[in-house]
C-alpha cells in the first residue's frame, strides 16, 4: 500500500510539471572539490525513496534534493562517510541504502549467486565422477545383447562394450 502511495506521489509530482530534469544543481554543490566529490560518491549510494529505483544523485524529486543537501551538511560538519550513511539509515531505515547490508537474512541475497556456482560445480564434479566410473556404464538390454552376439558372431560377450567412456 505504501508503495502505491509513493507511486501516486511521484505521479502527482510529474503531473505538477516537475519534469525529469537532472539532479545535482549547481547551487547545491560544496565549494571544496574534495568534499563535493565525497558527497557525489555518497549520493550514488543513497536511494531517493519516493522515486522508482533512482539514487538521489540521479533524481530531481524535491526529497532527493533535501537528502543531497543533508549529506552535504553532514560532510561539512565533519562526519565520515560511514557516519553520514549511518545518520541517514537511522532516519529512514535501510531502504535508503542502494548497497544492501549484511544484516539479518541478507546473506541469502549476497551469497546465493555464488551458492548456485558452488552447487553447480559440485554437481558437475559428481556427474563427471559417476560417468567416469565403470559402474556407471549402462548395461545392455537383452535385445542389445542379442544383437551384439549376432554382430560379433561369437558366444563371448565383450564386457563393457556398451561403456560410453570410449572416444570413438
Amino acid at each position: 500500500m505504501k508503495r502505491f502511495r509513493a507511486l501516486a506521489c511521484a505521479a502527482l509530482l510529474l503531473l505538477a510539471g516537475v519534469g525529469p530534469v537532472f539532479a545535482v544543481r549547481p547551487d547545491e554543490m560544496l565549494p571544496d572539490p574534495a568534499q563535493e566529490a565525497r558527497a557525489r560518491t555518497l549520493s550514488k549510494e543513497l536511494r531517493c525513496m519516493v522515486c522508482q529505483n533512482q539514487s538521489i544523485d540521479d533524481s530531481d524529486a524535491p526529497l532527493a534534493r533535501d537528502l543531497r543537501l543533508l549529506v552535504r551538511e553532514r560532510i561539512k560538519a565533519g562526519d565520515s562517510d560511514d557516519q553520514v550513511l549511518g545518520f541517514l539509515v537511522s532516519r529512514y531505515g535501510e531502504f535508503v541504502l542502494m548497497r544492501p547490508t549484511w544484516h539479518g537474512t541478507n546473506w541469502i541475497l549476497w551469497l546465493s549467486p555464488f551458492l548456485v556456482l558452488a552447487v553447480g560445480g559440485v554437481g558437475l564434479v559428481f556427474a563427471y565422477r559417476r560417468r567416469r566410473a565403470p559402474a556407471a556404464a549402462a548395461p545392455l538390454s537383452a535385445d542389445e545383447e542379442r544383437r551384439l552376439h549376432e554382430l560379433l558372431d561369437g558366444p563371448e560377450p565383450r564386457d563393457g562394450a556398451g561403456r560410453n567412456v570410449t572416444n570413438v
Binding site: R3, A6, L7, A10, A11, L14, L15, A16, G17, G19, P20, V21, F22, A23, V24, R25, P26, D27, M29, K44, E45, R47, Q52, N53, Q54, S55, D58, G93, E94, F95, V96, L97, M98, R99, P100, T101, G104, T105, N106, I108, L109, W110, S112, P113, F114, V116, L117, G120, G121, L124, Y128, R131, R132, A138, N164, V165, N167
Partner: protein, 661 residues
C-alpha cells in the same frame, strides 16, 4: 476499420489457439498424420487472425478513433504519425497484443519452415505454442482488452507518455519481444521433446537457429533500450539495473548459455538434459520478465504498467507454464540417455564453465530483483538492492567468463590442451599488456582496474582473431593455403569469433565510460564558456520552439577544442501540453567513438540555466559491441548447416533419435 472486427478476430484467434493446443497433440499421441498436419494450418490461421486484430488497432490509432478507450488514453490527434503507430504498443493492452502477434508469427514460421521436422515433434511444438497463445489471448480478452469502447467518445485523447514519444519506442519493444517470445519456440521444442521422450543431436540442430535468432534479437533489443534510456533520461547513464532491465537481462544470460550448450549437444551429443533445462529456463525467465513488467509488482522507471488484478492472472500463467514444464522435465529428464563423454579440459568443458557462470549471473540478477519483494513479504522489512550489488556480483561472475572466452574455441573437443591454447594466445597476451600499458599512460593516475579491464578487452578481441587465424593455419601452412582455408571456414565459426570480439568491444566501452568519464555541472548564462574534458562549450543562445504537440526550450552550445571549431550541440527540454509533462532531449555529438553529452536543467535565479555536460570516451563501443555480438549471431544463423530447410548430410539420417529407455 471497425474496432469490433479486431475484437472479433481476437476471439476467433482464441478458438483457433485452443484447437491448435489440442488437435496436433492428440494426433501425435494417436499417430494420426492427418490430425498432426492440421496444426500447420491452424498456426498460420492463428497468425492471420491476430494480425488482423493488430492491424485494426493500428488503424484505430492512425485515425485517432477516440471511441476506443485505449486510443483515448494513449493518443492525441496532434501526435506525429510515427508516434500514433508506436503508441499502439506504448501501453499495457497494446503491448500484450504485440506480444501474442510475435508469438503467433513464430508459430507460423515453424509451421511454414518446419517441413523437415519429424511429424510428431512438429505437432507437439505447435501444440505447446498454441497453449501459450491460448493463455495470453485469454489474458488479453479477460483483463486487458484494447478494443473496449467509450461512450460518449471524447473529442481529444490524453496523449502518450511523453517519455515514450520517441523513435526508441518504434525499435526497442518489437525487438525485445522478438527476443523474449522467440525463446517460446525453444521452450516449445524442449517440452515437445520431453513429451515425445526422445532427444538427440538432430534436435539441437533444429533448435539452434531459433535460439540464435531469439538471442540476436534480444541482444539488439536490450542494447537499443540502453541507448534510448541514455539519451532520453538525461542522466548520462546507460544501464540502471532497473527491474525491467533485469527482466530482459535474465533471459539473455540463460539464452547465451543455451546457444552455447546447444553447440555441445549438436556436435557431441552431450549435455542434453542441461540444454533442455536451459531452453525451459530461458522462456520461463522471459515469462517472469513479462510478469514483473506487466503486473507492476516492482516499482521502476517503466511505470506505465501497474495493475495488480492483471498481475494475478499472469502469475497464474507463469505458474502453469513454468511449473508444468519443470514437472514434465522432472518426470522425463532422468530417462534421457547421456551422450559423449569428455575430459574437464576440453571444448565441452569450457562451454560447461561458461554455462555455469552465466547461470550464476542470471541467478544473481534474479535474486537481486526479487529478494526485496520476498523480504518484505516475509517480515515487512524494506530494503533496496541497487547497482552496487549487481555490479559486484555480476561483475565477479562475468570476469572469469570473459577471461576464459578466448581459450574455449582453441581447445579441442573431448580432450583439450590448455598449455597449447595459452601458447597460441601469446599474441593476444602481448597485445593485452600493450593495451594495459597504453591505458596507464593515457589515464595518468586513474582507477587501477581500468588498465586491467582494457587489457582484458583487447585480449578477447585479439583472441577471437587468433582463433580464426589458427583454424586457417596461418603460420603453419603456406599463406595461400591458409587464405584459401580461411575463406572456406564455416560461417558459424566467423559468427562465433565476431560475437566474442563484440563482447570485448562492449567491455572496452564500459570500462572507458565508467573510468574516464568527465562531468561538469554548472549554472551557465548566455555567452558563458566552460570546459568538460578537453572540450570548451559555450552557451550561445536559449530559444523557445514549438513542436507538433509540445513546447521546447532549446539551448544551443558551440563546441571548441584547442581553439578549433568542433560544431554545435542542441540540447532541449520539452513540455508536453496534453499531460503537462516535460522530457529532456539530451544534446549528443559523436566524435570518433566518443561522445559529448549535454542536458539542460532548471532555470536558476539570476538568468542562468543548469547545465550538465559529460565527455564520454569510447562510449559508443558499448552499443557497437552489442550490435557486433548480434551480427555474429546472424552470421552463424546464415551458416549453411543451420539454414532452415538446408539439405542435411546423407551420412547422418534424421531419425537417428535415441529413444527413451
Amino acid at each position: 476499420m471497425n474496432p469490433e472486427i479486431g475484437h472479433y478476430a481476437l476471439v476467433l484467434a482464441l478458438a483457433v489457439a485452443i484447437l491448435q493446443t489440442t488437435i496436433p497433440v492428440w494426433g501425435a499421441r494417436a499417430g494420426d498424420a492427418a490430425l498432426m498436419r492440421v496444426g500447420t494450418a491452424l498456426a498460420i490461421v492463428l497468425f492471420g487472425f491476430i494480425s488482423l486484430s493488430f492491424a485494426t488497432l493500428v488503424s484505430a490509432y492512425v485515425q485517432s478513433d477516440f471511441s476506443v478507450l485505449n486510443v483515448v488514453e494513449n493518443s492525441h490527434s496532434m501526435k506525429p504519425l510515427l508516434f500514433k503507430i508506436t503508441g499502439v504498443w506504448g501501453n499495457h493492452e497494446g503491448s500484450m497484443l504485440l506480444w501474442v502477434l510475435v508469438l503467433s508469427l513464430f508459430g507460423a514460421l515453424v509451421a511454414l519452415f518446419g517441413s523437415n521436422l519429424p511429424a510428431t515433434l512438429k505437432a507437439n511444438v505447435l501444440g505447446v505454442q498454441g497453449s501459450i497463445a491460448t493463455a495470453f489471448l485469454l489474458f488479453i480478452l479477460l483483463t486487458s482488452n484494447p478494443f473496449i469502447r467509450v461512450v460518449p467518445a471524447p473529442a481529444e485523447g490524453q496523449d502518450l507518455n511523453p517519455v515514450l514519444q520517441d523513435i526508441g519506442l518504434a525499435i526497442h519493444p518489437p525487438l525485445l519481444y522478438l527476443g523474449y517470445v522467440g525463446f517460446s519456440i525453444t521452450f516449445a521444442f524442449a517440452v515437445a521433446a520431453l513429451i515425445d521422450g526422445r532427444i538427440d543431436a538432430a534436435w539441437a540442430r533444429w533448435v539452434r537457429p531459433w535460439a540464435l535468432a531469439a538471442w540476436a534479437f534480444l541482444t539488439v533489443g536490450i542494447a537499443m533500450g540502453s541507448y534510448w534510456a541514455y539519451y532520453e533520461l538525461g542522466w548520462g547513464g546507460w544501464w540502471f539495473w532497473d527491474p525491467v532491465e533485469n527482466a530482459s537481462l535474465m533471459p539473455w544470460f540463460a539464452g547465451t548459455a543455451l546457444i552455447h550448450s546447444a553447440v555441445v549437444m549438436e556436435k557431441r551429443d552431450a549435455l542434453k538434459v542441461w540444454t533442455i533445462l536451459l531452453a525451459i529456463l530461458a522462456f520461463s525467465l522471459s515469462l517472469l520478465g513479462t510478469f514483473l513488467v506487466r503486473s507492476g509488482v516492482l516499482t521502476s522507471v517503466h511505470a506505465f504498467a501497474t495493475d495488480p488484478s492483471r498481475g494475478v492472472f499472469i502469475l497464474g500463467i507463469l505458474i502453469f507454464f513454468i511449473g508444468g514444464s519443470l514437472a514434465i522435465y522432472a518426470l522425463r529428464a532422468p530417462t534421457l540417455r547421456q551422450g559423449g563423454i569428455f575430459a574437464p579440459v576440453s571444448r565441452e568443458g569450457a562451454l560447461v564453465l561458461n554455462n555455469l557462470l552465466l547461470t550464476a549471473a542470471a541467478a544473481a540478477v534474479f535474486v537481486g530483483t526479487l529478494y526485496p519483494l520476498a523480504l518484505e513479504a516475509y517480515n515487512g522489512a524494506k530494503i533496496t538492492v541497487g547497482p552496487p550489488y549487481f555490479n559486484l556480483t555480476v561483475g565477479a561472475l562475468m570476469a572469469p567468463v570473459v577471461f576464459a572466452m578466448p581459450f574455449g574455441p582453441l581447445l579441442a573437443w573431448k580432450r583439450g590442451d590448455l598449455l597449447g591454447a595459452a601458447q597460441r594466445l601469446m599474441a593476444a597476451f602481448g597485445a593485452a599488456i600493450l593495451a594495459a600499458l597504453a591505458a596507464v599512460y593515457v589515464q595518468g593516475g586513474g582507477p587501477v582496474l581500468a588498465p586491467v579491464g582494457m587489457g582484458l578487452a583487447v585480449f578477447i578481441v585479439i583472441g577471437a582473431c587468433v582463433d580464426l587465424a589458427e583454424r586457417a593455419g596461418f603460420g603453419r601452412v603456406p599463406a595461400a593455403t591458409a587464405l584459401a582455408r580461411f575463406r572456406g571456414l564455416p560461417r558459424a565459426t566467423f559468427g562465433a569469433a565476431l560475437a566474442h570480439a563484440g563482447v570485448g568491444i562492449c567491455l572496452m566501452g564500459i570500462i572507458a565510460e565508467t573510468s574516464w568519464n568527465a562531468e561538469r555541472i554548472i549554472g551557465a548564462k548566455i555567452g558563458q564558456s566552460f570546459e568538460v574534458g578537453r572540450y570548451e562549450l559555450t552557451l550561445d543562445r536559449l530559444e523557445p520552439r514549438q513542436g507538433p504537440n509540445y513546447r521546447a526550450l532549446v539551448g544551443v552550445f558551440s563546441v571548441r577544442r584547442g581553439g578549433a571549431d568542433m560544431g554545435t550541440i542542441e540540447s532541449s527540454k520539452r513540455l508536453f501540453t496534453a499531460r503537462s509533462m516535460s522530457t529532456t532531449e539530451s544534446g549528443i555529438r559523436t566524435y570518433g567513438l566518443s561522445q559529448l553529452y549535454v542536458s539542460l536543467g532548471d532555470e536558476l535565479p539570476g538568468g542562468a540555466i543548469g547545465v550538465r555536460a559529460y565527455w564520454k570516451p569510447l562510449v559508443t563501443l558499448i552499443w557497437l559491441g552489442a550490435l557486433i555480438m548480434a551480427l555474429g549471431g546472424v552470421l552463424s544463423l546464415s551458416d549453411r548447416r543451420l539454414r532452415v530447410g538446408a539439405p542435411r548430410p546423407a551420412k547422418k539420417p534424421k531419425p537417428a533419435a535415441v529413444p527413451a529407455e
